[in-house]
Subunit: 285 residues, 2 copies
């Protein structure tokens, strides 16, 4: 058996949820959200940083919406801060607090990641759509030619809808309790993806092949589901972006009705590689 | 051999420099300084947190003196921030940026730790003197009745001088390139420890039993030593608060002249337990 020191310093030894040993030279990253306890990113990213041999750590930061601007201003003073991941409720507000944003972020109007450049410039981009799509693909679920319903068109939902539209579904329906927001996202996507049938409509599951919950409904203290479970039919792919609990009310109902269940962790796993590349500065979307 | 998961989640397995696996529920701590690369705290505290079973991590933050106020203001927005450790050049400036300070901090005019209370109140205290004294004691070096020279009377030096004075040395000499600062610290300590002979004087090693370097001289890019090595004599205890390199120019010279060498790491190790207790809120100095 190896000594503890040899184990901890060897990136080829996976220590789940742990980065390489921390020193004064460790770079740092954070995920900001409210709530934050449910976040899967600390476990996933620290494992990924270690595997890459990066001397870096990602920490969770509980930050209220009202404190976001002040907190980001303060974080700019930290020289070894390399990047931020943003979750609810910060994805839209943060757009106005960075120096530049990428193409996907411009399209969907929100960011879920900030690269904190060594030159002091902060660049935002959104990887939720890419992550959702890759997660579905990794599980063998193709989107092209399918009838897709996206429920929730906030920061993550708009990004997911854009990634779906890009793949050429046979139809894409958007639903949000805020009809104005859904209508706005629908108009933006129609302008970009003219060949795809994109509509705003009810969260009705009839004739749907893939449904994706992009609302926070189903998280602790936020009872779900966001759609009427009566419409869940065998063979339907039911995806949820909620990470904890892993089996949300929606996914439990889907499972009991013979649907194919796709938990929120997959969307996160689908974007860890892309986010690491983004943080390295190789991606300038 | 245990599975990686069983090892990482077991606080009784030491993984040097590593905390327990990170999740969204991890509390966080930071050490702020400029430079920060040399800091030993990330390795020591993460090992200590893990051993205590605390779901917590301490990260290094490189923060310039001019950015301290802005950064601390921003960090107040982070709900799961539990504490900060401060190193050069922040120990004195931070006194004005917390809500209250403890007795030792009032005496020496600087803090090296902030407890970030769940009620939003920040309380500062200084553990450098305690750490230095405990470190010396752990190495078997008594201070009572000895002739001590403290070089450097800034944030750390004043705290060390106070802790030494409290032990009753036969004499305590203070030196600083800033004579006004040394004089101020001397006056404060004389008022508190009237029975001890405390003077300001040159960094002359004749007749000294213990010399403690509390200046940054000896750190990378800051050539030392802070005293004339010619005066180093066999049997003299030579302590350095500089942590990296471990063997500073001063300690190398001391070693080659038969002195007893006491590296900076000992002062840090001497205060980790006290700082953890302070962060827990059991100490309200």
């Amino acid at each position: 058996m190896l000594s503890a020191d040899a184990v901890t310093h060897n990136p080829e030894v996976d220590l789940p949820g742990l980065p390489l040993p921390l020193t004064g030279r460790t770079s740092f990253f954070a995920i900001l959200g409210d709530p934050i306890a449910q976040a899967g990113s600390p476990a996933l990213f620290n494992t990924a940083f270690r595997r890459r041999g990066w001397p870096a750590v990602l920490v969770p930061m509980q930050v209220k919406a009202a404190d976001l601007a002040m907190t980001l201003r303060g974080l700019r003073g930290i020289g070894n801060l390399r990047g931020l991941v943003l979750t609810t409720p910060h994805k839209i507000a943060a757009v106005g607090l960075v120096d530049s944003i990428g193409a996907e972020a411009r399209l969907v109007g929100s960011i879920n990641a900030i690269r904190c450049g060594r030159d002091g410039r902060w660049h935002g981009e959104n990887f939720d759509g890419l992550g959702c799509l890759r997660g579905l693909q990794m599980a063998g679920h193709s989107v092209a030619g399918r009838r897709v319903l996206v429920v929730g068109t906030g920061g993550a939902g708009a990004a997911v809808a854009a990634a779906i539209a890009r793949e050429g579904p046979s139809s894409l329906r958007l639903h949000d309790v805020d009809a104005v927001r859904a209508g706005h996202v629908c108009a933006v996507l129609r302008a970009t993806f003219g060949a795809v049938s994109i509509v705003v409509g009810p969260p009705d599951l009839r004739g749907v092949d893939i449904v994706i919950n992009c609302t926070p409904l189903g998280m602790e203290g936020n009872p779900g589901p966001s759609v009427d479970a009566e419409g869940l039919a065998p063979g339907m792919v039911v995806a949820d972006l909620v990470i904890e609990p892993e089996m949300t009310e929606l996914l439990q109902a889907a499972s009991s009705r013979g649907c194919i269940v796709h938990p929120g962790r997959r969307t996160l796993e689908g974007q860890v590689d892309a986010l690491c590349t983004f943080f390295e500065g190789e991606s300038h979307g």
